[in-house]
Every structure is written in structure tokens, then in C-alpha cells.
Amino acid sequence: MTLGVSLGVVVGYLAVALALGLVAYRVSETTAEDYYLASRSIGTLVLLFTTFATLLSAFTFFGGPNLAYAAGPEWLVVMGTLDGVLFAVLWYVIGYKQWLIGARNGYVTLGEMLGDRFGSTGLRALVAGVSLLWLFPYVMLQQMGAGEALVGLTDGAVPYWGGAALITGFMILYVAVAGLRGVAWTDTLQGLFMLSIVWVAAAWIVSAVGGVGAATEGMLAARPEFGSFGGGTYTPGFIVSTAITIAFGVTMFPQINQRFFVAKSGAVLKRSFALWPVLVLLLFLPAFMLGAWAAGMPIEVPEGANVLPVVLNEYAPAWFAALVVAGAMAAMMSSSDSMLLSGSSYFTRDLYRPLIDADASERREAWIARIGVAAFATLAFVASLFRPGTLIEVGDTAFSGFALLALPVICALYWPRTTRTGMIAGVAVPQVAYLAVVLSAVVGAVPTLPRTVLGGWDVALGLMVLSGALTVAVSLVTAPTEEGDASRFAVVSD
């Protein structure tokens, strides 16, 4: 009975989201600009929530509370700083600049923008290839999250692979029919839904344990070290490197970066910018505090399970727990479908067209995109069955990989002297180095290279510095190529 209710709520919610996508599909045009960018017509509320919902994935919804449960509520500060403040500043520095030049030159992807500026198909393909590479673990992360969520909700009646398969099928279907307009519309629905549901959940659980003060007391009784700031996992090195790598990484995520091209007007970007810190806090505060408070509650969290569904099953009725899981699945889905959509545009526009078939018809391109999405999601699904790390570990790997792109891109945006060779060196060398670090942990034959040094400092942070230094240094010793055109990135004012 309860199992039926739980599954009914989850599947029903997903069906509503799909219906909304179909409506969006009906009003869509069949051009690539409409499919990927909704004809650059996205307003403040929708832009805000589509970026918000896309940012907030299994990483936030399950990974965050899990980490707060295990290591303390400092995760709130790490995520709040990087998402609420640093990302907002980058939203201006990278996002607004990209919007200005993107609207003028008609860019749809980051690779296209850089390839055009430096007159280089190779750079365009390199940026797209690197982006798709790191997108893979992040899509996988959503599938892992969904699999774990349904196991937790149904007490194992739905197996891990079943939940992961359900969300995979759903997101392929969704991306194939809806395009960005559909994705943006459902993101708004899901963003509002998640925001309200997480507050109701927090209110419910807090009142069940006797108020905020009692919840904190319980937490401190069980884990006294949670009360003081820092310590344990949270060394200064961990806080600083996590905040910097994730915030810069987020701006280079295909689905986030492409959002920089979709705003209807500059005013939309401005309003979203100013609301960002508050919106982020509204979601993180209840979600992560619930995770931390759970440390003081009489609950048993099984190995590999997520804290949030366990707490909800203990203190809230089954239908409500199902609703929260549905919200979390929605978060994962909106992350994944945006990612897949952006990934497919990177694939068709920056790899397939320039390298394989420049004369492909629009129809053919659309089919290639959809087949690419299905293949990518299926491969990620297969990989997710191996569960190669915790949600936070897998997510962090992907974020850091993207973060290595950020400084060369900022260089290109603001420094006209940047050269093609400088860009290629600044992108390729740190990527190879980071890939070696990541793969050394997976491949048994080679010694594992350290991911962090000197008490929590992430090697990716060092590689970020390297990426910036290489871009500048190599640019200074090489001459701009004939095909490059710095004026493509100039901001003009009448």
C-alpha cells in the first residue's frame, strides 16, 4: 500500500513534468536556435529558476545533506560562498560578457564562441570534447542519486538499477521532445517545487523533534564538534579549494554556460544576479541543516543510503517522503536534461558538423543530436551501475575538470592579446594532467596520484593556476594567427 503510494507520487510527478515539456514542444519552432536557446527569449523568473534548478542536482539534494550529516554543517558555508557569492560574481564577469558578444555574433556554444574568435576549429573541438568528457560523470551522478533515492524510499523494493534506469529513460524522452523551452519551463516548476517542499520538510521534522533549538542541542550532544566552525574535513584548504574549483567549474558546465546566451535582455541577467545569494541560501539552509541535525536523531542510516529520505521516512508520512524524493528526482532530471541538451549541441555543432559532415541537413543534425543523447545517457547509466565513488566525490571530480577551462576563457574574454596557441596550451595541458590524476585512482596498474596536498588543498586548484599562467605565458611568446579576430569579443557601445 505505502509502496504503491510512494511510487505513484514519484511517477505522477514525472508525468506532469513530461506533459509540460510536450506543451513547450507545441510552441517551439524547429530551428537550432529555438531548440537549444529558446530563441534567446528567456525572462527573469524562468532564467533564474532554470539556472537554479540546473545547479541543484543530486549533488545538492542528497550529497549535501549526506556530507553535513557525516562531517558537520560547514558544508552550508562552503556551498553558500561558492554558489551564492563567487558564482554570482562570475555570472557577471563571464556570463554578462558572454551574453553581450553572444547576442551580437549569434553564438550557441562556448566552443563556437572561442573557435570563432581564434579562427580555430581545433580549439572549438577541444573545448567541446573536454566539456563532454566531464559532463559524463555528472550525468552519471544524477543516475546514481536517483537509484539511491528510490532504494531509500521503497526500502529496496525498487532496486538501485531500476531507479537509475527510470530516470535515464525519462530524461532521454524528455530531451528528445522538448528542447530548451520545455527544459526551462519544467525547471521553473521544479525550482519552485523544490524550494517549497524542502521548507515544509524542514518545518515538519523540526517540529517533530521539538524545535530548532532542540534539534541543534541533539546534534551537539551526539557530535559536539559540529557546533564549532571548522575542523575535521573542513580545513581551510578544503574550504577554499572546494569553493573555488566548484564555482569556476559551474560557469563552464555546458548547461550553465549556455544559459549565459539565452537571456532576453541584460535586465534579466541583472535581476537574476541580485537575487542569487538569497535564493541559494533559501534552499541550502534547510537542506543542509536537516542533514546536520540528523546526526542527533535516533535514526539508522544504512551504508550507501542518503540521509534525507531516511529522516523523512522516520518523521513524515509516506506520501510526503515520496513527494520530497519526487522533488529530488525532479532536481536530478532538470540537471540531466539540461546537461544532455547542451551536450548534444556541443556534439553536433562543435564536433559533428565541423569535423565530420559540414553539409548535414538540419533534419539530419536533429537526429544525430537525439541519437547522441540516447547513447550518452545509456553509457552513463551503465557506468553508474559500478558506483565509482560517493555523490560528492563524483561531482567534485566533474566540477574540477570544468574549472580548468575557466581561466583560459576569462583570458580570452578580457585580454585581446590572447593567442590561439596560448588557449590550446592553457586548456590542453592542465586537462591532461588532471585526467592523469583522476584515472590513476581508477586504473589499478599505476600508483594513485594524490588528489589533495598539504591538508586538503585540491591539486585541481594548482592546475587552475597553471591553466591561467600557461594561457598568458604562451600567448606572450606566440603571435596572433591570421584567422584570429580579437574584435569579435569587443563590447561595443554607441
Binding site: 554543517p73 552550508l76 558555508v77 562552503v78 553558500g80 560562498t81 551564492g84 557569492v85 563567487l86 554570482a88 560574481v89 557577471y92 554578462y96 560578457k97 553581450l100 558578444i101 547576442a103 551580437r104 524545535g211 530548532v212 533549538g213 534539534a215 541543534t216 551537539l220 559536539p224 559540529f226 557546533g227 564549532s228 566552525f229 571548522g230 575542523g231 574550504i239 577554499v240 569553493a243 532576453k264 535582455s265 541584460g266 535586465a267 541583472k270 535581476r271 544576479f273 541580485a274 537575487l275 542569487w276 545569494p277 538569497v278 541559494v280 541560501l281 539552509l285 541543516m289 585581446p416 574584435s487 569587443a490 563590447v491 561595443v492 557601445s493 554607441d494
Partner: protein, 88 residues
């Protein structure tokens, strides 16, 4: 549009906003205020401050001047980049 010298103050302002969103001065402090650890209140208040200053940054026109554009050309659809010479 020429950039204003006074706009440069936004650079250190943003740096401070980012740096102290992490409550460094409360490192190791375990006081509980109104049901939550004091450092969480710091963070909450700081993000509120960020939102207020971000709004001010936008409203003052520094948002547009920072990119070398005219502040008044910023609203509505007409805010799109206009054709013309390079200002940078």
C-alpha cells in the same frame, strides 16, 4: 562611455564579499545563538548583505560601465549590444 574611477571600488568590495562569506573570524567558535551556531548566522547575514550590494552594483550603473557600455542602454529589449566602434 568612459569608466568611472569610483567604480573601481567594486573590485575590492567583491573580493571582500567573497572572502568573508566564510566566517573566518569565528573559526573554532562554538557559541549557539537562537538555536543555531553563531557562525551560521554570520553566513546568513553575509549573504543578505551580498544581495543588497549586488542590487546596488546593478542600480548604480557600474554593471554596464564595467563592460564599457552606457548604463541607460541597459533596460528592456533595447539593452542588446548595439553596432558600433570598439571601445576597449
Amino acid at each position: 562611455m568612459v569608466r568611472l574611477r569610483s567604480d573601481l571600488v567594486w573590485i575590492p568590495t567583491f573580493a571582500i564579499l567573497v572572502a568573508f562569506a566564510v566566517p573566518w573570524p569565528l573559526w573554532g567558535v562554538d557559541r549557539v545563538v537562537a538555536g543555531l551556531p553563531a557562525w551560521i548566522w554570520w553566513h546568513v547575514a553575509w549573504l543578505g548583505l551580498c544581495a543588497a550590494l549586488f542590487a546596488l552594483f546593478v542600480r548604480s550603473g557600474a554593471w554596464e560601465r564595467g563592460m564599457g557600455r552606457r548604463p541607460e542602454s541597459s533596460d528592456g529589449r533595447s539593452g542588446g549590444p548595439a553596432p558600433g566602434g570598439d571601445r576597449r
